[in-house]
């Protein structure tokens, strides 16, 4: 049987289709430019303080300052340390005490050295109506670097006496939006 030239060529073309193909117009070096920028919105702390927190149950004397501390182990996580670019804090107080309060958040290192501090005043209730105080702060470097050095967070609430009876509720809520920039894929 005669194998014609066109058929031979067709067969060779067929082989070529399979064996000669290419990948073009792409640039895989762009992987270096890939940036993931997730924003994680998380609750942070909450509490509610009442009259009992500001009066000694035994002596009945006022307690001007209360404080509590937690570790924040995620600040020591390599992924967080490498990729965290911003923290947007939102703190809220609903205060039915007639007294103002001073709020402090201290970020401490292992040796309890203050690395970063947030302080603001919490407004007193007016005419018995609960007063809401919102505090917002965006933290970027270099302040963020200070927080990265911390591992603990202390909250201190100081009552500012006004001569009125100590009675009411102080409700605290807080959250933070953590902005990450992940480039090391």
């Amino acid at each position: 049987m005669k194998i014609t030239l066109p058929l031979r060529l067709a067969f060779l073309c067929g082989l070529a289709i399979g064996l000669v193909s290419c990948v073009s117009d792409v640039d895989f070096d762009q992987t270096d430019q890939i940036v993931f920028t997730p924003e994680v919105d998380l609750d942070l702390t909450f509490f509610e303080l009442t009259t009992a927190n500001f009066e000694d149950t035994v002596s009945g004397l006022p307690i001007p300052v209360v404080r509590d501390t937690t570790r924040l182990e995620f600040l020591d996580d390599d992924f967080i340390r490498d990729n965290l670019t911003q923290i947007e804090l939102l703190l809220r107080y609903d205060n039915s005490f007639s007294q103002d309060f001073e709020h402090k958040t201290l970020f401490l290192d292992e040796n309890n050295q203050v690395q970063f501090e947030i302080a603001f005043e919490v407004a007193a209730a007016i005419d018995g109506q609960t007063e809401t105080t919102l505090y917002q702060q965006t933290i970027i470097d270099p302040e963020l670097a200070a927080i990265r050095n911390a591992i603990k967070m202390l909250i201190e609430i100081r009552m500012l006496p006004d001569g009125q009876p100590i009675a009411g509720r102080l409700r605290h809520q807080s959250k933070a939006i953590y902005s990450l920039e992940v480039t090391d894929l």
Partner: protein, 460 residues
Amino acid sequence: MGVLCCTITAFAQNKQLLYGVNDLPQALHLNPGAAITFEKHLGFPFLNASIGAGSSGVSVYDIFQEGGDINARILTALNRLDRRDHFVVHQQLDLFSYGWKPRFKEHYFSFGVYQELDAILYFPKDLATLAYQGNAGSIGRSFGFDDLSAAAELLTVYHFGISKPISEKWRLGARFKLYSSIFNLSSISNKGQFVTLETPEGPNFYSHQVQNAALLANTSGVISVAEDGASPLGAAILSGNLGIGVDIGATYFYNDQWTATASLLDIGAIFHRTDLRNYALEGSYELEGIEFLFPPILDGAAATPYWENLEDEIEDQLPFQDKLEQTYTTWRPLKINAGISYGFGQNLNGECDCTNGGEQRYQSLAGLQFFSVNRPQGLHSALTAFYDRSWNEVFRSKLTYTIDPYSHRNIGLLISAQFNKFNVYIAADNLLEYPNLAKAYAASLQFGFQLIFDTNQYNR
């Protein structure tokens, strides 16, 4: 009278170009009841293999094209892809095959060994979105864990098949398979969700909830290699994770011109009993932040371990287990083929005489084929129109147009050449994408070299 077969194949699961090409032994793997036109074949181990791959929603070019902003393209792809989009890799390597038709019999027996790799990863839309964008812009949105679905297996398959005409109209076939799993990963039934809800009446701004999480990943054949450094070679020959299965197929000759075919492939399962490792996470958890209790300040009193308590709570309510060794069963991806063809043109068997039984073997065939494979999230189907032409005693070609999850412009071409006893074929689909495979959503290639004898029979 023998056939020397050396075949290298690389393809996605749908082998529309080889289906129904009855003068190639590979047709028997796609339909054990194929009306083959040869009387014996023999295959040897071969030297190389390659893979076919598919992506139903995004191509390499879509992401990595030159110029522009790659992050914008990733975001576009993220928004476009959905949880049914998937990435598939499939590879098959014939290690040995032999087949023969006993003298004066109509049966055709065949047996052999092949190695197969099959992997599928569904795009975990919700979790990818959560990882890429975070939850800040998605308060109130549920991120489902059921998007997480993946399966991968590497196995050796021993098979024996028989094909037999049972009447003038029907030819039936079956292939029995012993599966020896080398490696398996299966995580296809995950449940639960993560959601962040605003809670105006709650103790804090939000309630972060993991609801009814039930995540499970099963593996076999991994630990002995990864942790103990064992060689997978033994498992490649015969592992402790065996399975059985069967292929069945049929050809129906409606008349001299119209033929219908169908097959069910890999009706079977693998029972994973050794070298196991399962990973599981179950439970529900709600987080509203850390509640400060402001205990009275006492000298020497330890601070409340809020963070440790939080970690303990999470571990208690969302326990993660990574040392389980539970047996499990995986079903092989069942494949369905069906086809109808119409023969026309010259009768390649020549004019009717006493040597060819009056059978017609048309120069041209045209028809439709249907393919479907059962995947973890449902069937993946394809419809193919084809034109198959035998140019002479040497050359045969088949042109296909296929609509499938990967493309609506899938043109494929098979060219087979029979030089005396030696046969070589090449088949590739998505040819329009071959000039730049980066733009292809799928690509598969099949080619082989084999010696085939007695190819002029038309076996009903």
